[in-house]
């Protein structure tokens, strides 16, 4: 791991000295800096490259949200975290735009170190500094323009139910990601237990969703939708892969937590495409020409056009946003390598579902030692076929 630099900002000196002492063991890996105010932090960023900034929310003068907004504008590749004692809804909403992760005080030392380590870890996935800036600059993923209106309309119905909100959220991949991102942040602190969008929506609560809709920070705006990207197709494919992967995980009898990680991994696997294609539409045109069933060729084309693969970009974003480590790992190693380093069952299930999307039947791995042996392959093929059948019946 390359040495990376972390900057802590807090107006309370005792907090900074506590962190300094607590992090003593990481002195070798991390170059740690401290600032007592937003202005001091910005001045430091002028002279010192900072990979991760962790700031308090409420500070006299410039507050945490203002500081992070400035950091995003000036140094978009710096990962932006908030460590705040405020955990009320208004503060979350105020900071939701420029903030990539929320942590609440008091924060266990392991959690704080883990969150920073995760962000540092994904930096190896995207080595190009320019690409990191592009990914880091994302405040809100591109969404179809009508989605905000829809959300406002649904949320302002007097007897609006959760299922109506969930329906709107599920109609768009970016929204799914945003909702999961919010729930994953430590304000809600339950990243390992999210099984579905409805669970995430119910954790957030209608009030928060309504407030977010009004603020326009999550459901509105965002980067413009890439002109040559079919959002509906992307969303449908993601939903189908997620459905298949979840079925596989469930029927294999994996633990609940693993099932939910499989679902999220599959759902958000192609998230990075929203940013990559928007940034480089010509490059995406080249990628589109590759037949999708040839997954290795697609990966090669992505690498050639964008500088990293779509799953790498997705994993980078998920890392910035503080998703669970197994999810980030499983996304990062897509498409699952046959003869590469061994990957988790989650990664296998997602890789399988992704191939299944473009192939009627997925061929067994030629390597007889592979975890995904012919027996598993045939079982999973059957599971996916059954799922598609029941979906077709119900529609």
């Amino acid at each position: 791991m390359t040495t990376c630099s972390v900057l802590f900002v807090d107006d309370e000196p005792n907090i900074l000295s506590g962190i300094r002492r607590m992090l003593r063991g990481h002195a070798a890996d991390w170059e740690v800096h401290y600032a007592g105010s937003g202005a001091e932090a910005l001045a430091m960023l002028e002279t010192t490259p900072i990979d991760v900034i962790v700031t308090d929310m409420r500070m006299p003068g410039m507050d945490g949200a203002q500081l992070l907004a400035a950091v995003r504008a000036l140094h978009p590749s710096t990962a932006r975290l908030i460590l705040s004692g405020q955990s009320d809804r208004d503060s979350i909403i105020a900071a939701v735009g420029p903030t990539q992760q929320f942590l609440t005080k008091p924060c266990e030392p392991e959690l704080l170190v883990g969150a920073i380590a995760r962000v540092v870890g994904v930096r190896d996935l995207v080595l190009d500094e320019r690409l990191r800036s592009i990914l880091g600059d994302i405040e809100s993923l591109p969404k179809p323009p009508q989605i905000h209106e829809q959300m406002m309309e649904v949320a302002s119905r007097p007897n609006c139910g959760l299922s109506e909100v969930v329906a709107v959220v599920e109609s768009d991949l970016s929204l799914c990601a945003d909702i999961l991102k919010l729930v994953n942040s430590a304000f809600f602190g339950l990243s390992s237990r999210i099984e579905s969008i409805d669970r995430a929506a119910s954790l957030l609560g209608l009030d928060t969703i309504h407030a977010l809709a009004i603020s326009g920070k999550v459901f509105g705006g965002g980067a413009p939708v890439p002109r040559n990207l079919d959002l509906t197709l992307l969303r449908n494919n993601s939903m189908r892969i997620a459905g298949m992967a979840r079925t596989i995980a469930t029927k294999e009898g994996w633990p609940r937590e693993t099932v939910s990680q499989t679902f999220i991994t599959a759902l958000l696997r192609d998230l990075g495409l929203l940013v990559l294609a928007g940034n480089d539409p010509e490059g995406y045109d080249l990628v589109r020409r590759v037949p999708p069933e040839d997954i290795w060729a697609v990966s090669q084309a992505e690498l050639a056009s964008f500088g990293c693969t779509v799953p790498e970009a997705s994993a980078y974003l998920l890392g910035l946003w503080g998703f669970a480590e197994p999810v980030i790992q499983a996304v990062a190693c897509q498409p699952a390598q046959i003869s590469g380093p061994p990957v988790s069952p989650v990664a296998h299930a997602v890789g399988f579902a992704h191939r299944r999307l473009h192939q009627r039947v997925v061929e067994a791995e030629p390597d007889p030692q592979s975890w995904l042996d012919p027996i598993r392959t045939s079982r999973w093929n059957t599971l996916c076929a059954e799922l598609e059948e029941s979906v077709n019946e119900s529609t």
């Binding site: 907090i15 506590g18 003593r24 500070m59 410039m62 004692g85 955990s87 005080k105």
Partner: protein
């Protein structure tokens, strides 16, 4: 058109006997001079003679009438009855007709025609027709009929209206009664009955209060009524007098009682009307609103206090982790050194140098210089953090202590603990100055309510300063100043800010319930209205406000400082 009225039927029965020729001849003489129209006709109603009155009535000259049938003189179609009577078929029975007809010139009139046969040896020899204009009677009769119909209708309407009215009165949830001058109930409604424990108006109506066998027990009702009625009997209306009474179920009810003099149309006092509006649930609503405001501020405070506590907990826990790590290095190294030193006394020279080398090696992994510098600091900062938490928790406990009733209260301390718990509301917005006069001492107060008022005003001050800072784009802290002072009989607590201030229109409305200048969801608009009712109504004090747009605001709470000035009765009840 023939109108056959009931009168027609009666008259036909009353018709006189047929005439004899002698009588007819005599009558004919009379006929010349009478005002009634008279027609002499043969048995087939062919006219033989008419008098002048007939000519005048019908408009026909005598020569036009004579020789034709009476029937043929009608210029309009007539009913079968008329045709039968005047159609020329002799009948020995007298008949009478009443019909609307027209004169030759077209003048419409009601005519009454009596047909009297003159019998000669049992045969109809001649007919005498007596005709008269009964238009006037007819119209009068119509009017009479109409009038009686209207009267019936009116009676029906009145009775419907009466039942609606009595339904309305009885279903009004307020108590309604009316009495005569002797104090006897003349009417009551259902709400009145049920409040007093009766079921039937008859149990009450006709009796005086003293004669009632009411089960509302305490007599609180009779007592409340008595005074007001006296006033009403002097012709003075008593409106919305607040009384608390005990109803038949033993529940205390808050009534707004009005007693009004009831005057007769000529202005004489006839009795009194009483209306008691049951405002028990309104009073409960007010209490609930006060409670909501309290919960709102507690919720807000809780978030702020959590932050105040979270910060020290964060660094105490970081320091604890550091200390654990440090001692995790330090103690094994010390044990190691101890073990090295535990051996037999080293020989001077190589042996001692070797031991020294071992000790150095054991301590090599320990950054003692760092630990020596940091451990004491970590401990003292942790202690500071813990005492901060303790202080906050104590202030919160102090603040949330509601007090019971009006008791001697240390106003300065109440202000201080309120400032302490609300720290998070102002510390990023303003510097807060406290200038509390020790002479203030103990003041008879409702402590919980007083703190609530101070809190509401501090929070408002912080909001006002935020508004000004946003408007002017400054990041400089504002200023909130709290002062207390005691003069002879009153204690003043003033809370001033350098926030955005208010114009006159806003200042006049700030104590109105639900008035708020904050955006939706930022306040119930209850804070100051509540503050007003707590300071003015509950404490018998005053709230003064000085404010100017852009210049900030100052709220001054003026509290009576001595028990003598507090409501005497209250003092008796609550003096510790």
């Amino acid at each position: 058109m023939v109108v056959q009225t009931d009168r027609f039927a009666r008259e036909r029965q009353a018709a006189v006997e047929p005439l004899s020729p002698t009588e007819a001849a005599r009558l004919a003489l009379v006929a010349v001079h009478t005002d009634h129209a008279v027609v002499l006709a043969d048995a087939h109603v062919v006219i033989e003679w008419v008098n002048d009155a007939f000519c005048e009535l019908t408009g026909y000259a005598r020569h036009e009438a004579v020789g034709v049938t009476r029937l043929s003189l009608f210029t309009h179609t007539v009913s079968a009855t008329v045709v039968a009577a005047l159609g020329g078929v002799p009948t020995d029975q007298p008949q009478a007709l009443e019909l609307l007809t027209r004169s030759k010139q077209g003048r419409p009139y009601w005519t009454y025609i009596e047909v009297r046969p003159v019998l000669d040896h049992g045969e109809v020899a001649q007919l005498i027709l007596l005709e008269s204009d009964v238009s006037a009677t007819q119209v009068a009769e119509h009017q009479l009929l109409e009038a009686s119909r209207r009267a019936e209708l009116l009676a029906a309407e009145l009775s419907a209206e009466k039942s609606v009215l009595s339904g309305v009165i009885s279903s009004i949830p307020h108590l309604v009664f009316w009495k005569d001058l002797g104090g006897r109930y003349r009417g009551v409604n259902t709400a009145f009955l049920s409040a007093r424990g009766f079921t039937d108006p008859a149990e009450v109506v006709g009796s005086t209060e003293a004669e009632l066998d009411s089960s509302d027990g305490s007599g609180s009702f009779a007592q409340a009524l008595h005074e007001l009625e006296l006033a009403a009997r002097d012709g003075v209306a008593v409106i919305d007098h607040h009384v608390n009474v005990t109803d038949a179920d033993g529940r205390t009810r808050s009534l707004l009682l009005s007693v009004l003099p009831q005057l007769s149309p000529d202005g004489h006092l006839e009795g009194v009307i009483g209306v008691g509006a049951d405002v028990t649930h309104v009073a409960e609503l007010e209490r609930a609103l006060a409670q909501a405001n309290r919960l709102e501020s507690i919720g807000q405070l809780a978030a702020g206090i959590a932050h105040e506590i979270n910060t020290p907990v964060q660094f105490v826990s970081d320091n604890a982790r550091f200390l654990a790590d440090s001692f995790g290095e330090l103690l094994p190294a010390l044990r190691h050194v101890e073990a090295i030193l535990a051996g037999p006394e080293p020989e001077p020279g190589a042996d001692a140098a070797d031991r020294l080398g071992q000790v150095r090696a054991a301590l090599a992994g320990v950054d003692l210089a760092f630990l020596v510098g940091e451990i004491p600091a970590a401990l003292s900062e942790s202690q500071e953090g813990l005492s901060r938490v303790t202080q906050i928790v104590r202030a919160m406990k102090d603040f949330s202590h509601p007090g019971s009733g009006r008791v001697e209260t240390d106003v300065n301390r109440a202000v201080e603990s309120t400032v302490q718990v609300s720290r998070n509301e102002w510390k990023y917005i303003a510097e807060l100055e406290l200038d509390l006069d020790p002479a203030v001492g103990l003041v008879p107060c409702y402590e919980g309510e007083l703190k609530q008022v101070v809190l509401n005003i501090i929070v408002n001050a912080a909001h006002a300063i935020t508004a000004r800072r946003t408007a002017t784009g400054t990041t400089e802290l504002g200023r909130i100043a709290l002062r207390s002072e005691r003069s002879d009989d009153v204690v003043r607590v003033s809370i001033s800010d350098d926030g955005i201030g208010m114009d006159d229109a806003t200042r006049r409305r700030i104590f109105d319930p639900f008035f708020t200048t904050k955006e939706v969801g930022k306040g119930t608009g209850q804070g100051l209205s509540l503050a007003h009712s707590i300071i003015v109504q509950k404490h018998g004090g005053q709230i003064e406000v000085v404010s100017e747009p852009g210049q900030g605001s100052c709220f001054i709470l003026v509290l009576p400082a001595r028990w003598e000035h507090v409501n005497q009765a209250e003092a008796e009840t609550h003096r510790p």
